[in-house]
């Protein structure tokens, strides 16, 4: 069964509205009109209600046909895959589209109409926050080009022939953890003093037992809640600036893909815990000063877990094709920070190594000759 969808259409010309990155407005690409989020949300909440009622009525009173086509051999069931699939109808061109159950906002591949599937973000599944995109597509591409700069080992052919196969703005679901880490750590510290007395060199080592205890509070530690997104990429585009966190509204979604979470809070706990514990350990270690050698002996860190928030954070995903391989880049849609492993030209690596090693070695040889007399 098709799912009801919302697409924000321009009240003036009915063309699709898209969220304009870096603003609080939805813009019509066709007639140039621009509307406040609040205005559009009010306008469409009424429309959504009417559409839902219409769908319900259609479901209860289907059109009857006296002599229907024989479709008995067609399987209605999608089998085991069906549970993970959803269909929706594009309100612009009426195409029936299939996507997986976690997709919450997308665009129609036939007419390009941006669509939000509101059921995905209702009730308990509704995110608390969203950081709207601050970078538009052009800025994201510019950030990627900028990322290439100064990379000496980047193959020249990559710069000349790479093509951006796909670029997609995605609101990625994140769990944001509040909490506190507390506990203590024990270290051994050594202070070493070397001095000379007569013909003897004396090394004195003072051994200390060092203990530190304390606590650190954390606010909104993000952990990627989507299996589609590679966790390391999401970690690498941090941090996000929470000053721009907004209460969630689907009005920010048109024009971008949006996923709902498919990794539970419990599944993400471990990563959040690990990050908080490690941060407190680092902070306690940094207070152990005045020693020549410090070695951790034991650590007893506990967590006081607080609230978990659900947020949609903006990420540009770019697939760059080069040499028949796809290179994935993720760009923080708020700060422009780029994460992605670049291809390496082994020729350039060898050239740099040789250009350093050969003259340095020659210099070393000459120096050896001079020293040897």
């Amino acid at each position: 069964m098709a799912v009801q969808t919302t697409n924000y259409q321009c009240p003036a010309c009915t063309a699709p509205l898209q969220y304009a990155a870096g603003t609080d407005k939805l813009e019509c690409q066709f007639c140039g009109s621009s509307f406040d989020l609040e205005t559009v949300e009010q306008y469409y909440s009424e429309k959504e209600k009417q559409a839902a009622e219409a769908m319900e009525e259609a479901r209860q009173n289907p059109i009857s046909e006296e002599d229907p086509w024989d479709s008995s051999q067609i399987e209605e069931s999608w089998g085991p895959d069906g549970a993970a699939m959803r269909t929706y109808t594009c309100p612009s061109c009426t195409a029936e589209l299939i996507c997986d159950e976690t997709t919450a906002a997308s665009s129609c591949p036939y007419c390009g109409n941006p669509t939000v599937i509101p059921g995905q973000f209702s009730g308990a599944l509704k995110p608390d926050y969203v950081i709207p995109f601050q970078l538009d597509k052009k800025s994201a591409i510019a950030a990627l080009k900028n990322h290439y700069k100064g990379k000496l080992f980047l193959p020249q052919t990559f710069l000349d022939t790479n093509t951006i196969e796909k670029i997609q703005g995605v609101y990625v679901p994140f769990w944001l953890y509040d909490g506190e880490a507390y506990g203590n750590m024990v270290f051994t510290g050594k202070r070493i003093r070397t001095y000379r007395r007569g013909d003897d060199e004396i090394t004195e080592t003072d051994h200390y037992l060092v203990e530190r205890s304390g606590s650190l509070s954390f606010e909104k530690v993000p952990v990627d809640a989507s299996t589609k997104m590679p966790d390391e990429y999401m970690d690498s585009i941090e941090p996000f600036n929470y000053q721009q966190l907004q209460p969630f509204s689907t009005a920010y979604l048109p024009g971008f893909l949006a996923d709902k979470f498919d990794v539970s809070i419990e599944q993400c706990n471990h990563h959040a815990d690990e990050r908080c514990v490690q941060s407190l350990q680092n902070a306690l270690r940094n207070t152990v000063i005045g020693y020549d050698i410090v070695e951790p002996r034991s650590s007893n860190i506990k967590l006081r877990r607080g609230k978990v928030h659900y947020a949609m954070l903006p990420v540009w995903l770019l697939n760059v094709k080069w040499n028949d391989k796809i290179h994935l880049f993720a760009i923080n849609g708020q700060t422009g920070r780029v994460a992605g492993n670049l291809p390496v030209s082994m020729g350039k690596v060898a050239a740099m190594f040789a250009s350093l090693a050969i003259p340095l070695s020659a210099l070393g040889y000459l120096l050896a000759q001079i020293i040897a007399g």
Partner: protein, 262 residues
């Protein structure tokens, strides 16, 4: 009273000058190359070594000398045997020709100290490496109280070195070993620099900490203990084997050399 004081001063000065002159001029005669004040050699050994030293000196125009003393500190040159050797060489105007080219080996038996001093053209034949190599040929003899054998090795090896220097091919350290070390360091530096640039190509990493999300106020440190447990001490003898002199650090003559214990 004043006269008495003057007399005492003069007597002291006389004793001092006699002491120095004994050490300075001692029994060095024009043809003497060996001065065995510690009586380590027999008369025959002394003569044999003196003849050989004389021949080498004349052949290569480079004075070659050996001196043994019971205790070099008794001569008022402080506690540095190298300085004693240096002073002996210059105060006695040892050496060959107007440039006073030459070298001396001094042994002091009290604490088994030795010093070598090289001057003028001898420094060309025996650079730092040459001096280091030379001492290895006689030190093992001296450690076994083989005085004649050690002095003979000293003279014969010196002759060999002087001969090579005369041919324009003085003994020098092979640069290859040191070059190998330098080249290894160069390769390491190159690899590190290359590695730094390579690391820039890969920036996808899992985050292990959450420092960006620490609330205002940061760490609340509640306990802080630094408890002293104990003090350990390691004593290491500083080897004196490789002390060396240089023209820059010695006034009134210059030269270079090595000193140590055997």
């Amino acid at each position: 009273m004043k006269r008495q004081l003057l007399k005492i001063t003069l007597i002291l000065l006389l004793i001092l000058s006699l002491t120095f002159s004994v050490f300075a001029t001692g029994e060095w005669r024009n043809d003497a190359h060996i001065l065995d004040r510690a009586n380590l050699l027999t008369q025959e050994e002394n003569e044999a070594l003196n003849t050989l030293a004389s021949q080498i000196s004349n052949e290569y125009s480079c004075g070659i000398y050996i001196m043994t003393v019971p205790d070099f500190t008794a001569y008022g040159f402080g506690y540095d045997i190298f300085e004693a050797a240096w002073r002996t060489y210059h105060d006695n105007e040892l050496g060959y020709g107007p440039g006073r080219d030459g070298m001396i080996l001094m042994l002091s038996m009290a604490d088994r100290d030795y010093a070598m001093f090289f001057y003028g053209q001898a420094e060309y034949a025996f650079n730092d490496y040459g001096q280091e190599q030379l001492e290895t040929v006689f030190l093992d003899n001296f450690r076994n109280d083989d005085w004649f054998g050690g002095f003979l090795d000293y003279l014969e090896t010196s002759e060999e070195y002087l001969s090579l220097a005369a041919q324009g091919d003085p003994v020098r350290e092979s640069p290859m070993e040191m070059a190998g070390i330098f080249i290894f360091i160069a390769v390491i530096i190159s690899a590190v620099v290359t590695g730094i640039f390579w690391a820039q190509m890969r920036n996808v990493h899992s985050k292990r900490e959450a420092s960006h999300y620490i609330t205002d106020g940061g760490l609340k440190l509640k306990g802080r203990t630094d408890l002293f447990l104990r003090r350990s001490r390691v004593v290491r003898k500083i080897p004196k084997q490789t002390s060396s002199g240089s023209s820059g650090s010695r006034s009134g003559g210059g030269g270079s050399g090595r000193s140590g214990k055997f």
